[in-house]
């Protein structure tokens, strides 16, 4: 495939062919010698060579444990690990590097907040009678931790519903965000509907009642400039593997005042100040929340990843995603029997497009597309409640990224038409 199909599309990354060369997997041939058309980036992104090389260089030349090792390799490894923290802090425009905590993924980061709020004593504690507010478009990872928290503490779990066009329904915000509300946790960008939420506005309302605002930026961080200070949030989380970094690492940024007051999450090496058999005292942030050997080579990979994205520019990536998403929505609009879930205006959304094909189950759609070498996701995308809201059990999702070309979108749309033919629904 020559990937320059509609390279006149305004907003496309200018060096798209060069960027694609950075990703070794994009030259993979699949069954029947098909080229890979990877449209599952909201699930996990592909990795550029520079990320892989940074990890290999670390493993082959600098590997040692961090903090505790004082020899030359230990110093190199610690420096690489802490440099990754600096890079992530810069990526998020965090006021302090110490506010950046490495977790294993976004899910752990959200559980960290939910658990420490249950264990906190004093004003932060979430207890019986308190309220936690989420939304109906959350990923399961931003639902289940709060269900567990509210079940264990006797607090009350409430949520924003959705409008028919896949936006947050803010009409009952005054009933939801009240004096009782201790936490508001919401996604910045929906992984199913693509919706971009008005995070700063909701944060402002939540802060009026003194609630803590947690923002799940798992889908935002890959494709928008994320400025944690401008976001108004108290906590922002994202996951390494969706920002061209490796698995095994996630990020929790939190305001120092908040993190300082929260009790520790997991106990163990690295998070202590001093330990006796009877009792222990704990380190300051970020170490307080990083028990055990941290994801060292993963941090090195993530540091290289955010450097890579930063060099291309998040604004440019955002424009590219909007251009590709617009083109993909236009393409789908030409196919009878296809219904897109979520906003239809590409400027209101991220690059994940979920849709239904009349008469063909998403499994079967994705199976057919896969036979053409096109990778999409079928199922509930870890957003069962959002699917239920729209009366569907599952959907097919095509999600682009900075390496996606208009020609790939063309192949995808043709694939949908061929699928309809195969199942004799068109």
């Amino acid at each position: 495939m020559t990937a320059t199909g509609s390279s006149t599309l305004p907003g496309l990354l200018p060096d798209l062919e060069v960027i694609r060369k950075d990703f070794p997997i994009l030259s993979r041939r699949l069954a029947d010698d098909r080229p890979l058309v990877y449209l599952d980036s909201a699930n996990t992104s592909q990795k550029p060579q520079c990320v892989i090389d940074a990890m290999v260089d670390h493993l082959e030349r600098h590997n040692a444990n961090v903090a505790r090792a004082m020899h030359q390799l230990g110093a190199e490894s610690s420096e690489a690990f802490e440099a990754a923290r600096d890079k992530v802090a810069a990526f998020l425009n965090a006021p302090s590097r110490d506010e950046v905590i490495f977790t294993k993924n976004a899910s752990e980061a959200l559980n960290l907040v939910a658990n420490t709020l249950a264990w906190a004593r004093g004003p932060l504690e979430v207890a019986e009678g308190d309220r936690v507010v989420i939304t109906q478009m959350e990923h399961h990872s931003n639902i289940v931790p709060w269900q567990l928290l509210t079940q264990r503490t006797g607090a009350d779990l409430r949520w924003f519903g959705l409008t028919d066009d896949g936006q947050l329904d803010l009409s009952d915000i005054d009933e939801l965000i009240t004096e009782r509300t201790k936490v508001v946790s919401l996604t910045w960008v929906s992984n199913m509907l693509g919706t971009i939420n008005p995070v700063a506005e909701i944060a402002r309302r939540a802060h009026e009642v003194g609630a803590i605002v947690v923002v799940d930026a798992s889908q935002a961080a890959p494709q928008l400039p994320v400025d944690v200070q401008a976001s108004g949030a108290d906590v922002v989380v994202f996951t390494g593997h969706k920002v061209t970094g490796p698995t095994g690492i996630g990020v929790l940024w939190g305001k120092r005042e908040l993190l300082d007051q929260l009790p520790p999450f997991l106990g163990g090496g690295e998070m202590i100040e001093t330990v006796t058999m009877e009792r222990s005292t704990y380190a300051g942030i970020p170490h307080k929340f990083e028990a055990g050997t941290p994801p060292i080579v993963e941090a090195v990979g993530l540091g290289a990843a955010v450097d890579y994205l930063g060099a291309i520019g998040l604004d440019n990536i955002h424009r590219h995603e909007q251009a590709i998403t617009g083109y993909l929505l236009e393409g789908l609009a030409t196919v009878p029997g296809v219904t897109v879930l979520g906003p239809l205006d590409p400027t209101l959304r991220g690059g994940a497009v979920s849709f239904e094909v009349d008469g063909v189950h998403p499994h079967d759609v994705s199976q057919l597309l896969d036979s053409f070498g096109i990778a999409v996701r079928a199922g509930h995308h870890c957003a069962k409640p959002a699917h239920k809201r729209f009366g569907v059990q599952s959907s097919t999702r095509a999600s682009s990224y900075l390496y996606t070309t208009p020609a790939e979108v063309d192949a995808f749309v043709e694939g949908i038409i061929a699928t309809q033919k195969y199942f004799k629904v068109a």
Binding site: H361, H363, D364, S371, G379, K384, H387, Y422
Partner: protein, 162 residues
């Protein structure tokens, strides 16, 4: 490797998908179960009605309400065809044969005597991600039947998560 789509989507499978046999929930039944494929959300509610002496029960009816892909829907339909009217032993033997076929990754030649239309699913075993789909209804049947035999008939919701 080649993606052998037609070995997956056999005409028999698509026929069962378009016109599922024994669909809909019916009385009487001794056990009703609800199974979910957690990966994709496919669901089935399935009832089993047994008749006969303890130790010599017959599967008098299997009825179900399923939502899912062509493979899962067709497999439930074929399963109902295969087990209704069979001795429980024989029905469970068919379950076992189907399970083995699905786990074979295309290496087993299915026995048409035992599995009838079920042999059409031989191709599914080459698509690991779809094996769960084909097994959803069968697992529900096994679960419901075992529950009755164990004398603990109830509504259970286990998961299929291999």
């Amino acid at each position: 490797m080649s993606v052998d789509l037609d070995s997956l989507y056999q005409e028999i499978i698509l026929d069962h998908y378009r016109n599922p046999h024994h669909a809909g929930l019916r009385d009487p039944f001794e056990s009703e179960v609800h199974h979910v494929n957690p990966t994709c959300g496919d669901e089935i509610t399935l009832r089993v009605h047994l008749d006969g002496e303890p130790g010599h029960e017959t599967v008098s009816d299997v009825s179900y309400d399923a939502e899912g892909c062509s493979i899962s829907q067709a497999a439930a339909s074929v399963m109902a065809d295969l087990v209704i009217g069979q001795q429980v032993d024989e029905a469970l033997r068919k379950h076992q044969a189907f399970l083995e076929l699905m786990q074979s990754r295309g290496t087993i030649e299915p026995d048409e005597e035992v599995l009838e239309d079920g042999i059409a699913f031989a191709g599914v075993s080459k698509f690991p991600a779809r094996v769960k789909c084909a097994l959803l209804g069968w697992m529900a049947f096994k679960d419901a039947t075992s529950t009755i035999l164990a004398g603990t008939a109830s509504t259970t919701t286990p998961e299929e998560n291999r």
